[in-house]
């Protein structure tokens, strides 16, 4: 463990990696801050820029964008009640109220501090759990890998929100898209319709740039720009009393965030909502929630940061992305020629530990940057979206071209941009589609291996205790939300009808 940490520090503390880490977190803050430009989009359109960097440097920067965006998203939530990131939506409830009461400084300070504390706690947990999980996963055969992938898909679907059928539909669509082209192990070209460009399959960086960047731009054009509200900063000082009040919520938020973040697909958005909900229940200060309670900012901000780090547990240890952004990052791994999965811990220790240590450095940078400079970042909000989106479009297309020096990639970005826009308008979840697409080839490989192992009989899935455990967990996750939703809905209706009964009697 300590050898690994030392190796990580040695890797992360080179001048080049420190510089790119700083570039990543600053870009991340800005990207998180700008409405309509989230961390997934940011990472997707910036991957092409990192092609000439060392893989570890590139990943340090891209990851910096990811967790930097969690800090940036808060600034807009507090100041103009427009979350830059989905994970910051719940922060608008109390953060914006605090800003209106002239306490914007306190709100921003507590989210920076809360995020930092959560980041350190979750990093320590990430460094402990991920290698252990990877070591365990190394013993997995194709049967266990197949069940892990099924679990991953199910979890993403069940946490994507909205209808289960729609999530499953998108996951299956992702799998289907992944089958285009010549599959490894087979010689047949599938669904290429005679096109040479499609022989190599549909590359997912282009798909992601299309879905997340171009699709988002098209969606935003239709939504229109919201009116910015200016808040004045009197001070960025936070009182000792406020700090004391926030300590427990930050710790609870970190714990909730980590647990939810570790599940593939649950992600930071759900974690922040959950942390807020729980804080609202346990707080002695219940009445103040929604009116500018500092706990209502501290807990969800800690939770979304903690979840962002925890997302790397399945991503690094199992090669199954925790969320949309980690799915894109996983795509980046393959572009640099790295096969994500448990083997990385053995074959690329410098890369893995350098990356993990860089999270620590990046979070220190973010704390130092955000405490005094949040008002400066907020100036970015004056850039009108009308100037921004043509540049996002330009960057998306030129970036896509740069990935494979091919106009076909540019065309794919446009097609998936339109697909992404339609999905946004119809509220179809994107994470399951992306995960299906990323996992498709691995899924097929384990399917082939499993069928070979069982000599054509998939009953072999039920001969491994580990696989059975994982699959039953998947089954529970599929059906539990349906049941709880029914129960909650039933309770709501009974509560709603009760007063009427009283009134009648």
């Amino acid at each position: 463990m300590f050898d690994n940490l030392a190796l990580g520090f040695a890797t992360a503390f080179t001048a080049e990696n420190l510089l790119w880490c700083l570039v990543g977190v600053v870009l991340g803050t800005v990207i998180g801050l700008l409405p309509g430009l989230g961390s997934t989009t940011g990472v997707a359109i910036l991957i092409p820029l990192t092609l000439t960097l060392e893989p570890v440097t590139a990943l340090i920067m891209l990851a910096g964008i990811y967790y930097g965006a969690q800090y940036g998203g808060t600034i807009t939530s507090v100041l103009i009640s427009t979350p830059g990131e989905a994970a910051s939506v719940v922060t608008t409830l109390d953060g914006y109220q605090m800003a209106r009461n002239g306490r914007a400084g306190s709100a921003l300070a507590i989210s920076a501090i809360g995020s930092f504390v959560a980041a350190i706690i979750s990093l320590a947990l990430l460094m402990t759990i991920a290698p252990a999980l990877a070591a365990l996963a190394l013993n997995f055969g194709p049967v266990e890998n197949l069940s892990i992938m099924i679990l991953g898909l199910i979890i993403v679907v069940s946490f994507a929100g909205g209808s289960l059928a729609r999530g499953l539909m998108m996951a299956a669509t992702g799998l289907l898209i992944s089958t285009v082209g010549v599959a490894t192990g087979f010689s047949d070209a599938r669904f290429t319709f005679g096109s040479i460009d499609l022989l190599g399959g549909i590359p997912f960086v282009e798909v992601m740039i299309g879905l997340f960047a171009v699709g988002e731009v098209l969606h935003q054009i239709r939504v229109g720009a919201a009116a910015p509200i200016r808040t004045r900063f009197r001070d960025m000082v936070i009182s000792r009393k406020e700090l004391k009040k926030s300590a427990a919520p930050i710790l609870r938020g970190s714990a909730i965030g980590f647990v939810l973040g570790i599940l593939p697909g649950a992600g930071s958005t759900l974690a922040s909502f959950m942390a807020y909900g729980i804080e609202k229940k346990v707080s002695p200060n219940k009445a103040n929630f929604g009116k500018g309670a500092i706990e209502g900012v501290a807990a969800p901000e800690a939770a979304n940061n903690s979840a962002a780090n925890a997302n790397f547990v399945p991503t690094l240890a199992l090669g199954i992305p925790g969320g949309g952004t980690t799915a894109v990052l996983l795509g980046a791994f393959t572009i640099y020629g790295l096969q994500p999965g448990p083997l990385l811990f053995e074959t690329q220790p410098a890369l893995i530990w350098g990356l993990l240590v860089s999270f620590f450095i990046g979070n220190v940078m973010l704390l130092v940057l955000n405490l005094p400079l949040a008002p400066v970042f907020a100036q970015m909000l004056r850039i009108p979206y009308g100037y921004l989106y043509p540049i996002i479009l330009l960057t998306s297309f030129v970036g896509a071209y740069a990935v494979s020096n091919n106009m076909f990639s540019v065309l794919l970005v446009l097609i998936f941009g339109i697909v992404g826009w339609v999905m946004k308008e119809l509220d179809l979840p994107m994470a399951p589609l992306v995960l299906g697409l990323v996992l498709g080839p691995l899924f097929e490989k384990s399917l082939v291996q499993t069928s070979a192992l069982g000599e054509g009989n998939f009953g072999i899935l039920f001969s491994s205790p580990i696989a059975i455990t994982i699959l039953s967990f998947a089954a529970i996750l599929t059906f539990a939300p349906i049941i709880t939703r029914r129960v909650v809905a039933a309770r709501r209706t009974s509560e709603a009808t009760k007063p009427k009964v009283d009134a009648a009697s």
């Binding site: 599959a183 669904f191 446009l414």
Partner: protein, 181 residues
């Protein structure tokens, strides 16, 4: 039934058809090989079948749809859901530039048309010039900005793009028939 839900049902029906098409295609590629192992058609058939089943399920679900509680409402209580919904509704009103929904939809169509024309122009004019025209067209015709600032922003954006991608990353962007940049 709203226009959105009609489009949603149409999309799901389309996906169901694609799924069925994939199953037929997959069966043609060979699902199970002679030795009992799975063939190249297995995953396409499986994925296509799942797409079709879930898409049909979605169509049925939407046809019998009743309002359900969202994730946020379950966790935060119904009030929070209302607050978020109100914010969402407020967003779709007239924006800061005084554009209503119809105008913004027209903008979207215009941007899409400009993008398609841009891609068609790349083989003729080259990448940089085509995208410069795209930025100008969006700034002037869609966003209705003045010529001079639009030109300045376009020139700056393209200069940075050229520096980063062509000079620094050495990406061979298509030069088109003109062949200068």
């Amino acid at each position: 039934m709203t226009a959105v839900s009609r489009v949603a049902i149409g999309t799901s029906v389309l996906l169901a058809l694609i799924g069925i098409g994939a199953v037929i295609g997959g069966l043609g590629y060979g699902v199970i090989e002679e030795d009992g192992l799975i063939g190249p058609g297995f995953l396409p058939t499986l994925a296509g079948g799942l797409v079709a089943v879930f898409a049909i399920g979605d169509v049925i679900g939407r046809l019998r749809a009743k309002p359900t509680l969202s994730e946020a409402e379950i966790i935060l209580g119904a009030d929070a859901g209302e607050v978020l919904a109100e914010e969402k509704a407020a967003e779709s009103d007239i924006d800061i530039f005084g554009r209503d929904q119809k105008q913004r939809t027209r903008m979207l169509v215009a941007v899409l048309a400009i993008l398609i024309v841009t891609l068609l122009l790349v083989p003729v004019l080259g990448f940089i010039i085509s995208f410069a025209l795209m930025l100008l067209a969006i700034a002037i015709f869609v966003e209705k900005r003045k010529w001079l600032p639009a030109l300045a922003v376009t020139a700056a954006a393209l200069a940075v793009t050229y520096l980063i991608f062509v000079v620094l990353l050495r990406v061979p962007l298509p030069q088109g028939l003109i062949g200068i940049i």
